[in-house]
């Protein structure tokens, strides 16, 4: 039996598979389909301080091996999360990570302060990269300066480890990752979705109510993998890789490229039990290859 646990330094995970924010609801939606305790952990849907409306429909469009979404972070807000959801998550034996959003640096801090007063949260994932809330997909992760500013404020306020989730829609992802590290990020998660678009040729209208959206799914995997490889080669903090993971082989690719853990996103929507299936495939690989500690495979790409 291989040891599948991975150590992020600030957090030990029983296995490297986390379910990604925005594709896993608040976790409880998946209970009919799988045992949440089998996951390394999961990242709950992004929380602003108050409830948030989200974008007008259509919010989804399917593309070859991909999905463009423009949900717009509709959600219940941190108070309702603490009152109604968190007590149920506290009973779980898995890492619960909360994705934190904000329209301003102050709002990120307010959300973190509210959550800091509660127990049962392993870490925060700071969402500075959602492409669906501002014009042209703008977000703090677009520049090293605004990345640094948000991360610094959140780190100052938080009693918990801070994972910073980056956008792939930048010229130099390494520069942004280094800025996040310099500002105190405990880990870097990448990538969020790729800014994308689809048009109905009959009506010449955009297929999304928000015009632009974020592309996820197997279509983005090679680009996400390249970015994870580039970032993991340059930063000292642990990297959590994601982007189109659909199989155990995909997980292994990201880990060999340098990720210490991974997130499974869009696959959860298609197969609510995708995470345990993928974990089983990783286990099979380790058994077949005689790998005793999965951690030994991290950053071992032979170039």
């Amino acid at each position: 039996m291989s040891d599948l646990s991975v150590d992020l330094g600030f957090l030990k995970l029983k296995n490297p598979i986390l379910a990604a924010s925005g594709t896993f609801g608040y976790g409880l939606e998946f209970e009919p389909f799988l045992d949440l305790n089998r996951l390394g952990g999961f990242v709950v849907k992004g929380l602003y301080y108050g409830p948030r409306e989200g974008n007008p429909p259509p919010r989804l469009v399917e593309t070859p091996s991909g999905l463009i979404n423009a949900i717009g972070l509709q959600g219940i807000g941190v108070e309702a999360f603490i009152a109604k959801v968190l007590p149920k998550l506290q009973a779980l034996d898995t890492a619960v990570i909360v994705n934190v959003c904000g329209a301003s640096e102050e709002e990120y801090v307010r959300v973190v302060e509210a959550l800091d007063a509660e127990e049962g949260i392993a870490a925060y994932e700071i969402n500075i990269s959602c492409p669906n809330v501002k014009k042209d997909g703008a977000c703090p992760a677009f520049s090293p300066e605004s990345t640094r500013a948000v991360v610094r404020e959140v780190k100052r306020a938080s009693r918990r480890p801070v994972i910073v989730k980056l956008s792939p829609n930048v010229t130099d992802i390494v520069e942004i990752a280094l800025a996040a590290q310099e500002a105190g990020a405990d880990a870097i998660a990448l990538v969020n979705t790729f800014l994308a678009m689809a048009i109905d040729v009959e009506t010449r209208r955009p297929k999304l109510g928000n015009v632009l959206g974020g592309l996820s799914g197997p279509a983005i995997k090679p680009i996400a993998l390249r970015m994870v490889y580039q970032v993991a080669s340059r930063v000292k903090v642990p990297v959590i890789g994601m982007g189109g993971i659909w199989s155990g082989a995909d997980v292994l690719e990201f880990m060999i490229a340098g990720a210490r853990a991974v997130q499974v996103g869009t696959a959860n929507l298609v197969d609510p039990d995708a995470c345990p299936r993928i974990l089983g495939e990783v286990e099979d690989f380790c058994r077949r290859k005689g790998i005793e500690r999965l951690e030994d495979i991290i950053a071992t790409v032979k170039t």
Partner: protein, 268 residues
């Protein structure tokens, strides 16, 4: 709700672009209610990526049926499946029509547009079992869009149809047929109107029901991401306690009280 990765297909019928697949799925079948739906995987590979939401069309013993029109690559792949193969599905999902025992002995009107007849067939059988007297109105563009007409008639349902081109039934919209039906009266007005079809049809049904002060429930069609409330991809403007919000169709619907639905272009 469950995942049934291996629901064996036991029957297949087709009429042009319309298909009916029946399959064994005992656990899902036992819980299914009219108006609920299934998320069916159409490909083992991630293209097409998403499952397809299909309303439950029928239940017999431990089998369920889905009735659909080929409208794109997903439904085209589904239409290629044959008896003996299996379907990977999630279900039963969502909230269905409110089938109250007090409907026994009372008239219920079901209004279906095109493939919107799908869940109404299951509803009709359940209401018949309950002892309600159900009348089905079934409309489409042309005769080929009403493939279930003969079956409904043969099974003894009180039934009328309409086509845009008049090839069968009343010429015009199914909602015009609905107005005729309510005008003709005869018995008491329906205790409930249930409708499924394209949005403009549902909006017209809602308007008629409002004018006649009839309780009505609409089953909305939507593209969906997950089908079980995780992605917030399918939403409809719904008015609750005087406040309009984006509500998930997959989880809180697909059936909503007609008066709660806020349409993009409001009715006069």
């Amino acid at each position: 709700m469950f995942k049934d990765p291996e629901a064996r297909i036991v029957g297949k019928e087709s009429w042009g672009d319309y298909f009916l697949l029946t399959f064994d799925s005992p656990a899902v079948s036992a819980l299914a209610r009219p108006g609920q739906f299934l998320m069916i995987k159409v490909s083992d590979e991630p293209y097409p990526l998403l499952r397809r939401p299909l309303g439950i069309h029928s239940r017999k013993d431990k089998t369920l049926g889905v009735f659909f029109k080929v409208a794109g690559i997903g439904t085209a792949l589904l239409a290629r499946k044959t008896p003996g193969e299996t379907l990977d599905l999630l279900g039963p999902l969502g909230k269905g029509f409110s089938i109250d025992p007090c409907l026994a002995g009372k008239p219920v009107l079901a209004v279906g547009g095109g493939r919107g007849i799908a869940p109404l067939y299951f509803l009709a059988w359940e209401l018949r079992a309950l002892g309600a007297s159900i009348k089905i109105l079934y409309g489409g563009r042309t005769q080929a869009d009403l493939p279930l007409a003969d079956k409904l008639r043969a099974e003894g349902f009180d039934f009328a149809c309409s086509t845009d081109d008049g090839t069968v039934g009343r010429r015009g919209l199914v909602t015009e047929l609905m107005e005729d039906e309510l005008k003709a009266g005869g018995g008491s007005p329906p205790a409930l109107v249930c409708a499924c079809g394209p949005d403009p049809m549902l909006q017209a049904v809602a308007l008629i029901a409002r004018d006649k002060r009839l309780p009505a429930e609409l089953s909305l069609e939507s593209r969906m991401g997950c089908g079980f409330g995780a992605c917030w991809g399918c939403v409809q403007r719904i008015r609750r306690d005087g406040k309009a919000e984006w509500i998930k169709i997959c989880e809180d619907g697909p059936v909503f009280p007609a008066e709660s639905v806020v349409w993009e272009k409001e009715s006069p």
